[in-house]
């Protein structure tokens, strides 16, 4: 009788799983998948709660919705009361980089910090597309196998994420982006005056849209209800998506 062990093989499999399971979880939590679902869920929840004369505020709330990567493999869903505090979520340069940087971004700082999310993402895309020698993003080994779109999407997610790790990365990235904007912004077809955006906390894009304020209790109520809806949305959908990604991963292995 001969007894053999395949322990080495099992350990090898486990090692591969250790690397791939987080990857599958990350794919199952991809913001591109969840953003439209989160949007529809938030829209229906707020419409169910709103009185007929309040429904006009709903698109403004939805304009603040963000689905971003919560590094390393998580998902962050965000929605806020529309207004100056919602638009400039990136915050003024001095708040991120320290008081020495107050005003260093010139007019480009307020422009960037008060723009709507889709335009902000386009801006990051332009920065990533710019060659490094012209002030564009420096490519490192993490960017090696990614397309320009993937790099831009990741950078935008990092800049928008409230996560602490992302905020550290934001501190490193932001001076380069602002420097590029100062040198190349107008040539890239961007005009800081076109929106007349104010500094963080001053009237900007969102406050122009939001002339009428909902009362704070209603805002609070809507946001809490949407949070509850998102929670059940992720709880109900994540395991199915994760399972699917694991199946794909097994096929790839």
């Amino acid at each position: 009788m001969q007894i053999q062990t395949n322990l080495v093989g099992v350990i090898g499999q486990v090692q591969r799983l250790k690397a791939h399971v987080p990857m599958a979880a990350g794919r199952a939590l991809s913001p591109e998948i969840w953003e439209p679902v989160a949007y529809g869920t938030a829209d229906r929840t707020m419409r169910a709660l709103a009185k007929p004369d309040e429904t006009r505020h709903i698109p403004l709330f939805l304009a603040t919705l963000m689905a971003t990567v919560f590094p390393p493999e998580g998902l962050s869903l965000f929605m806020a009361k529309p207004g100056p505090e919602a638009g400039p979520r990136l915050r003024a340069p001095e708040q991120i980089l320290g008081p020495d940087h107050a005003g260093t971004a010139g007019e480009w700082g307020p422009y960037m910090f008060s723009m709507p999310i889709p335009e902000f993402k386009e801006l990051i895309q332009k920065w990533v597309e710019t060659p490094q020698e012209d002030g564009g993003k420096r490519r490192d080994e993490r960017d090696a196998e990614k397309s320009t779109e993937e790099i831009a999407s990741y950078v935008a997610d990092v800049l928008l994420s409230p996560n602490k790790q992302a905020q550290e990365a934001r501190k490193r990235l932001l001076p380069h982006i602002l420097e590029w904007l100062k040198k190349n912004g107008e040539a890239a077809g961007l005009d800081p005056k076109e929106r007349g955006a104010g500094h963080a906390g001053e009237p900007g894009y969102f406050s122009l849209l939001n002339a009428d304020e909902l009362d704070p209790a209603t805002v609070d109520l809507w946001l809490r209800a949407v949070l509850e809806a998102w929670k059940v949305m992720v709880l109900a959908g994540f395991d199915q998506r994760f399972r699917q990604e694991l199946v794909k991963m097994r096929e790839e292995l």
């Binding site: 209790a217 609070d220 809490r224 059940v232």
Partner: protein, 198 residues
């Protein structure tokens, strides 16, 4: 209790699932008493609304809005139809059918408005009690397997409600009184239907 609405239908997933909820909830929240398991329970009369539909204004009493949280993805598998399902199908439908299955979820927004009587202290104090009672009964109903069996037979199964959360006021919410009370309850389910196009 039996339900007359059609079973969950792959050609009208949202509409068929919500019609089942409408019939099911209307059968209980009608102001009468009903059996839930072995217990007789007095249910309030509630206005029912689905998806984006606003409540009638001015509102008074109990209202329940049901919001469907779209399933993340749909799985398919082959199965044998039940006799009841087969009876509802066009003649000649094979017993072996492909089924669709999705893990879905529903959000129940339970609201009450009860203006305080003149001279009474404490705004909407009855609303607080009413919303608590209505949300509690809804939770009890949905967690009772016998009571939800008719939904399960029609394709809404594995109903797992969470206890209702107090969305306002409380939990640090602003204390301003909007004149109504709200409880938010979520419920995970599995939706199943026959894919009859095969």
């Amino acid at each position: 209790m039996s339900l007359n609405s059609k079973a969950v239908d792959g050609l009208d997933l949202e509409g068929s699932a919500l019609a089942l909820w409408q019939e099911f909830l209307a059968g209980y929240f009608d102001g009468g008493t009903h059996q839930v398991g072995r217990v007789t329970v007095a249910f309030p009369n509630a206005v029912l609304r689905f998806q984006e539909a606003s409540l009638p204004q001015p509102m008074k009493g109990v209202a329940i809005s049901v919001v469907w949280v779209m399933p993340a993805r749909v799985e398919r598998y082959w199965d044998t139809l039940t006799a009841a399902e087969l009876a509802a199908m066009p003649e000649g439908t094979p017993m072996e059918q492909e089924r669709g299955r999705a893990q879905g979820a529903f959000l129940f927004l339970v609201r009450t408005v009860d203006p305080p009587s003149p001279g009474s202290s404490g705004a909407a104090s009855n609303a607080q009690r009413q919303v608590q009672a209505a949300a509690g009964k809804l939770f009890g109903l949905l967690q009772n397997t016998a009571a939800t069996e008719p939904l399960s037979e029609k394709g809404i199964s594995k109903i797992r409600p969470t206890t209702a959360r107090m969305a306002f006021p409380g939990d640090g919410a602003p204390g301003e009184d909007l004149g109504y009370r709200l409880r938010v309850m979520s419920c995970r389910t599995v939706l199943r239907w026959a894919v009859v196009s095969q």
